[in-house]
Amino acid sequence: MTTEELRAVTVAKSVDARGTACPGPLLEAKKAIGTIDTDDVMEILSADEGTKSDIPKWCKKQGHEYLGAVEENGYFKVYMKKK
């Protein structure tokens, strides 16, 4: 998905993991995934560059759909859809 498309996505849950470094964002995402429904989109906010490559791998293993990442001012928004 393009940056514009990602920004327009309706997000069911936003996880702010900017206050924690690796593997914090992944742990936060794991905790939050149980609170949303299938086909809901979750965004993970992270200041850790590694999150951009970690979340796609996590999604692939868990069978979720990785949508993409958007760079904001000093952090990233990573989007994924629960499957």
Binding site: P23, L26, A29, Q62
Partner: protein, 180 residues
């Protein structure tokens, strides 16, 4: 035709054996008691647990220092056990660095940097590990060898005492087996 059928059944049984033999599991034998190595082991374990892999940690030899509870005291130790207890770090917050320890200045600096960079402390990591169900097995033989007693080991929900055989058995069924 029947022979072929039998052969097929045999093959099926063997492939399912192979599939079951290697679980989505990480087993690490942690022997080092250095702060950096314990940190690495915990970070990787947490990442694996977040990926829903089973994680089983086997703590032995110098790594036992990381499992000592500084608030607990054990009675009835002999002289050598007392010496070991006195010389080795009292718990995960007193561990040394394998490099650049600089008489304790290194660990202080690293801890300060970790805080600044929002890296979880070892305390927080053990808490997360407990919540994620990461299993810790303490090497019984190392405990005896170094004179540690169960009364001075941390309270951790998934902790057990066992021998090397347990690690070998756990590692044997794991898809990832490491040594730190």
């Amino acid at each position: 035709m029947e022979a072929l059928q039998q052969e097929l059944e045999k093959l099926k049984a063997r492939t399912s054996d192979i599939e079951e033999a290697r679980k989505d599991q990480l087993s690490i034998a942690i022997v080092s008691g250095d702060m950096d190595k314990i940190l690495a082991a915990m970070i990787i374990s947490l990442a694996a647990a977040a990926m829903d892999s089973e994680v089983k940690l086997f703590f032995s030899f110098w790594a036992l220092s990381a499992l000592r509870d500084p608030k607990k005291k054990a009675k009835g130790k002999d002289f050598i056990s007392k010496m070991f207890g006195w010389m080795l770090p009292k718990g995960r917050n007193k561990l040394k660095l394998s490099n650049m320890n600089m008489c304790g200045m290194g660990p202080v600096m690293i801890k300060r940097l970790m805080k600044k960079q929002n890296v979880m402390s070892l305390d927080a990591m053990f808490q997360e590990a407990a919540a994620l169900g990461i299993e810790i097995t303490v090497c019984e033989m190392s405990m005896n060898l170094m004179g540690f007693k169960k009364e001075e080991i941390i309270d951790y929900p998934h902790l057990r005492y066992a021998g090397a055989t347990t690690f070998v058995a756990d590692a044997g069924e794991s898809s990832m087996q490491w040594f730190i």
